[in-house]
Symmetry: C2
Subunit: 228 residues, 2 copies
């Protein structure tokens, strides 16, 4: 269904809708969803059904956005030559990141698997349209970065929606954003926010892969709340 | 329970845990959660139970983060003088935003309610610690903005977790980020990402408030996926 028709159907359904109340069972499952979401780098290569991809993108568009600007733009990367160019850019950036490691961490860094670019059946580059007129600038005069932040919330929404369907998502940030924009030939006002790999994960865990690999565990430091 | 003990308890539970499978009923409820999350500006002023606030912050810390850096830092703003200073900063920024509106939108802009700073019982300023050593810089050499993006994902996680519990959240971005950092006397490496109002919402809707107010409806533009 074209996006405009889908939006009409949504508005129709909405007219009869009532606010949901989430019970304890849902709360517990929602917590499990947060605990078992992972940044995935090991995928099965089997392709995802088209309807599932469409559904995930529809859900991502329900993310909050500053001024209701909906600045997220999705590019589906399927062409083998473009995928290879993204991999080459990752390899350049990662070689330079490896060289910048301290002596004591370099060996561990080299052993980390940091992306699933060769296996992931679905790859989405997510851009923020910095020139969008939607929202009429509301809410982003003093903090223009909220436009990119809105795009990030679409990514996080997509991430959770994918995990609900048993899919893994991995965010690859070891890339040169301008190079990727060039590889994908996007409009000049689009800025790369995230490059995402999606597919069925090879394993499930409620511990971050970087923790399992001994790179960085979660800590409680972020939970010290300042009172003011 | 102190944060470190909570983390231990989590690790203990984890050892016996199995990957969850989310059924169709959960998928539907999760979609309702996304559809009924709103940016809320009209709150009941009754305070939130302490245990609930702690629970929400625990869940927010399950957000993804680049290199597992967990750079989010929460400041709970309760002091009346500091709250008044934040309101004064909002009013300055909003007056200047109003003045910058085009003639035809100025009247509508002036009628919008853009924050619940006077009523919201819980107010959290969320910062990103740009100087954190956690994560050892992994994943943010070429895209250092992913540290702030990680903080945004904690906000989005908190937003959904609050809505699951029937609470509304409103993100106020019409603020001078440096002024707010000064009002709240945070460490110099902390950068303001979001100022959040939380509380029981006065109304529920599956349509954005800016759409109901005639400012900006959702459009299908963001769903045109480029194929590359």
């Amino acid at each position: 269904m074209p996006a405009a028709l889908r939006l009409d159907a949504f508005r129709e359904r909405r007219a009869q809708a009532r606010p949901p109340v989430f019970d304890a069972a849902f709360r517990n499952e929602f917590e499990a969803l947060l605990r078992w979401r992972r940044d995935v780098r090991r995928f099965h290569p089997d392709p995802l059904p088209e309807a599932l991809v469409e559904e995930l993108l529809d859900l991502a568009c329900l993310a909050p956005s500053v001024g209701n600007a909906q600045p997220w733009r999705f590019v589906r990367v399927s062409d083998p030559a473009r995928r290879a160019a993204v991999i080459a850019d990752f390899e350049r950036c990662n070689a330079s990141a490896l060289a910048a490691q301290t002596e004591d961490r370099r060996g561990l860094y080299a052993r980390l698997k940091l992306e699933g670019l060769r296996e992931a059946p679905l790859q989405l580059a997510v851009f923020c349209d910095e020139a969008t007129g939607q929202g009429h600038g509301l809410g982003r005069r003093t903090m223009p970065e909220t436009l990119a932040y809105s795009t990030v919330m679409a990514v996080q929404t997509l991430w959770l929606a994918a995990r609900v369907r048993g899919l893994g998502l991995g965010w690859v940030s070891i890339l040169n954003a301008e190079a990727v924009a060039g590889i994908l030939e996007v409009p000049p006002s689009w800025r790369l926010v995230a490059y995402l790999c999606l597919g069925r994960p090879q394993q499930e865990s409620d511990l971050p892969e970087l923790e399992r690999a001994g790179w960085q565990a979660r800590t409680a430091a972020c939970r010290r709340v300042l009172e003011r």
